[in-house]
Structure formats: structure tokens, C-alpha cells
Symmetry: C2
Subunit: 273 residues, 2 copies
């Protein structure tokens, strides 16, 4: 997907919501467990109910991988369904991959070609030649971990290298990679004020912001410090939407929650004009 098409979709839907598909057999409504493929049945119902309020879906790959072949089958079916019925929606493989060159190319092919994702999350630790193979794919996007929302972010990400925090070094260094116009960054919303500094380094790249909702970030804070003239934000919510109800009405309640966030986003987008 071209970035312009993502931006157009944001303005059309008045939303920059990403729904995280962290689909967990222990948490989905019990009545779905008798389906042939409960994971896909749940995802399909969530997509049908929420697609008008969001611009992106982000399957968390670990949740599928944990179920072995059956999980991968459910993921493939989810992607086939999304790409057939909602090709305008941006898809993110939340995979946090990264390896040396020819191996990174394999991961890129797995997600960009075999499964036709628009983007993938990548860990930066192995540097340039682990990231650039992903950047070679036209109209595909690589979302590099910069500042994550977990406690462990303080172990290394916020420590200073060459006088600036490691996550800022990741931003600065990766800007020089070949194909860096296809980079986005993961920035945890639990540290929204950091966004001010981040925007000094990457004024235009899209930021994927997890941690609004269940993980406790504030949408207003994120927008205050992170929004750009072309929005430049995808804000994710997973559990707060998926598991708002685990009764028969789960999809309806998920839609209600997604719409609530969309309406908050509409207010923020109106401030751009």
C-alpha cells in the first residue's frame, strides 16, 4: 500500500485506529470454540464489526505461532479475508523479526509475499543489513522498534549511546538506511512526552503507538506531541476492543469500543484543519 492511500483512508474514516488481533483461545467467547476454526471465526466477526472505524489491523504473530500449524492456517485465512474484502485497510504483521541479510529477506518474503501484509514490525538490534532487506519491497513498510511501552525498555533503549538515548540513536541511524522512506517506528504511548523529542528526529514518519487503552496511554497526549500535518500516527488498541465482552454480543461491543476511539480521533483530526 502506498502511504498516500493510508493517509486518504485516515481522512475518509476520520480514524487512525489500528485494531490489534491478539486472538487468544482462552479469551474469546466460548460459543466460538465449537467452530472449525475459532480463531478465524473470531477475527472475521471482529473485522466485520470494526472495519468502518479503523484503518489498520495488526495480528500479533506470537498468538498464531503458539497454536502451531492450526494457528498459521488461521492467520493465513484472516489475511485472505482482509485482502479480499477490505484491500484498503493497512495490515501489520506484528512479528518483531530481524536477522542477517539473506535471512531477513526470507522473513520479508514470508510476510510481504506469502501472506501479503503491507508492513511488519522489526527489531533494530542487528543493524543496517538486517533492516534494509525489508526496505527493498516497494509499497511495503517496515516498522522499527524504537521505544517500546514495556518496563524492559529501560534496560537498553533509554540508555545513552554517543550522548543520546539508544532509541534516538535507532531513529537517527535508521534514517540513513537505503529505502528509509518506507520506515515507520514503534513508540510506546506510556511515554507520550517523549514524542516531542522523537518528532525532532523523525518529523514525518508514521509512528505505530501501542499502549493506548489497556496499557494506559492517553490519546490526547499522543496527538499533542506526535501528530503531523499528514497525521503520521497509527494508534493501536487490542484487548480493550477484542475482549470488551466475551458473550454473544462480543462483536457488537467491540464495534462500540472501536467507534468510541474513532470519535475521539475525529476530534483530534479536526484540530489539524
Amino acid at each position: 500500500m502506498k502511504i498516500e492511500d493510508l493517509i486518504a483512508q485516515i481522512h475518509q474514516k476520520k480514524s487512525f485506529l489500528c485494531v490489534g488481533l491478539d486472538t487468544d483461545l482462552d479469551k474469546i467467547p466460548k460459543h466460538l470454540l465449537k467452530e472449525d476454526d475459532p480463531i478465524f471465526a473470531f477475527n472475521k466477526a471482529i473485522i466485520d464489526a470494526t472495519h468502518a472505524y479503523c484503518v489498520a489491523y495488526k495480528p500479533n504473530i506470537a498468538f498464531y505461532e503458539a497454536y502451531g500449524l492450526q494457528g498459521w492456517r488461521s492467520l493465513e485465512r484472516t489475511m485472505e479475508y482482509l485482502n479480499a474484502n477490505h484491500p484498503e485497510i493497512f495490515t501489520i504483521a506484528d512479528a518483531k523479526r530481524g536477522d542477517i541479510g539473506n535471512t531477513s529477506t526470507r522473513y520479508a518474503k514470508a510476510f510481504f509475499e506469502t501472506m501479503d501484509f503491507d508492513s511488519i514490525t522489526i527489531a533494530p538490534y542487528m543493524g543496517k543489513d538486517s533492516v534494509e532487506p525489508f526496505l527493498e519491497f516497494e509499497d511495503r513498510h517496515t516498522i522499527l522498534l524504537a521505544l517500546t511501552s514495556n518496563q524492559g525498555a529501560f534496560d537498553f533503549q533509554t540508555k545513552k549511546v554517543d550522548g543520546q538515548e539508544l532509541y534516538k540513536e535507532v531513529l537517527s541511524v535508521s534514517k540513513m538506511y537505503k529505502g528509509s522512506e518506507r520506515l515507520m517506528y514503534v513508540v510506546g504511548a506510556t511515554k507520550a512526552t517523549y514524542l516531542e523529542d522523537i518528532r525532532k528526529i523523525v518529523p514525518e514518519n508514521f509512528l505505530l503507538v501501542p499502549g493506548v487503552g489497556a496499557q494506559g496511554g492517553s490519546l490526547q497526549e499522543v496527538c499533542k506531541y506526535g501528530i503531523t500535518k499528514d497525521v503520521g500516527l497509527l494508534v493501536n488498541s487490542s484487548r480493550g476492543i477484542l475482549y470488551a465482552s466475551n458473550e454473544l454480543d462480543f462483536a457488537e461491543i467491540a464495534a462500540k469500543k472501536a467507534k468510541e476511539i474513532q470519535q475521539e480521533m475525529e476530534i483530534e483530526l479536526a484540530k489539524l484543519k
Copy 2:
């Protein structure tokens, strides 16, 4: 697997060779392509031919993931074959995963339980709560990326944080994690002299050393700086063994190459006595 059993196997086989199963349909002998499952057929032949000379196999997960469901099926069959026929051999999922707590737990279950690997490689960028979920599994081992053998290692890993290089910080900080006795580390052999410094921080942990052979490291150098009284090394070779021939004799030639490395290792192990 208990670490004592790995050490015992090393002394019994006089080898600390790990064979990397980077199985690539474009590189395996053409006659295997007519098999139902060419990837498994290749792996089985390699395992049958080399298991006497190595103590570990390391499937590179990207190579399987790139082939979608079929690739995962081949990986599962490979693991079933290994665990049924060679349960004494240490298995490494070269997956380079890592995510926030509950997601890391999913990855741990995928590889330690669903696929019954003895160990997995993990990226350290997200810190403590991304690594500790893997360390909770008894007799399973987590191999943290410290210093990788690719050019991109110089982007971040060798930069100084708090006065020491990031990869040393990763070693120092991760030693404090709960369950750190189950940690091993990836250290690229192209920088064997760094092993001297690394051993000052982690004197006993096993190190997984890629990059001997095709990537150009020297076994003697690695042993000079990295070996411990309990060996503490797994040295990997992938392409140099797998693709030494792509004719009918591929398995025989792979065995010959593996045996050559084993014999070099036997000399190094003899020096320990």
C-alpha cells in the same frame, strides 16, 4: 535438556558442532524436489549423515516461515524426527524473537512446548520482561543475541552505553535476570578476539558462535579466547556443510565436512585435559 547432558554429549562425541538447518529449496539437490516434502527429505538425509559428528541442530526459522504452512509442516516433521530418533541432540530454534511479557510467553510456548525445541535465540532490545518469560521454562535455554557477526552489528551493538559497548551491557544486565542460569549468548566468530572480554563478563555461559566456515571465522581463535573448562561453546556451520555438494552424494559430502570440523574440535577439546 539439562546443560550437564549437553556437556556429556560434547565429551562423548568429541564435538561441539552445531549444524544450521538453513534449508533452501533453491540450493538443495534437484532430485529431492520430486519428494512430497523436499525440505524434510533434505533435513532427514543431513541428520542421518551428520548426527554422529554434531551435538546440536539449529533450524533457521525464517527459511521455513518463508514457505508458509508447508514450511511449518516441514519444520514440525524435522523436530519430530530429531526428538524421536536423536533425543540426546540439543535443538535450537534460530528465531530471534522477543516481545512484551505475555507475547514472549506465547513465543516460548510455540517453540518449547508445541515444537519441543531445547532452546531459542532471542533479541535483547526490549529488555528484561521480554526475556524472562523464556527463562521460566525448566531445562530450556534462551540464547540472547549479544554480538552478531554481520556488518550491522556496528550500528548499535558496539556503541558505548554507560562506558561499555552495548553488547557488553546486554551481557551484564541480562546476568541479573531471573532464571539467567538458563541463558546462553550469540557471539559472532568474525570477532573472536572480543571473546576475551566477553568471558570476563560471562565466564561460564555457553556461547553460540555462528560464522565459522562460510562466514569466515577460525575455530582455533574461537577456542583460544572462548573455551571454558566445561567447553561452553557451540560452534555453528550451515552452508559449508549443507551445500558442500548438491549432487546425489550431498549427504555423504555433508558428513565428510561435518567430520572434518569434528576432528578439528577433537584437537581443541584434547587441550582442555
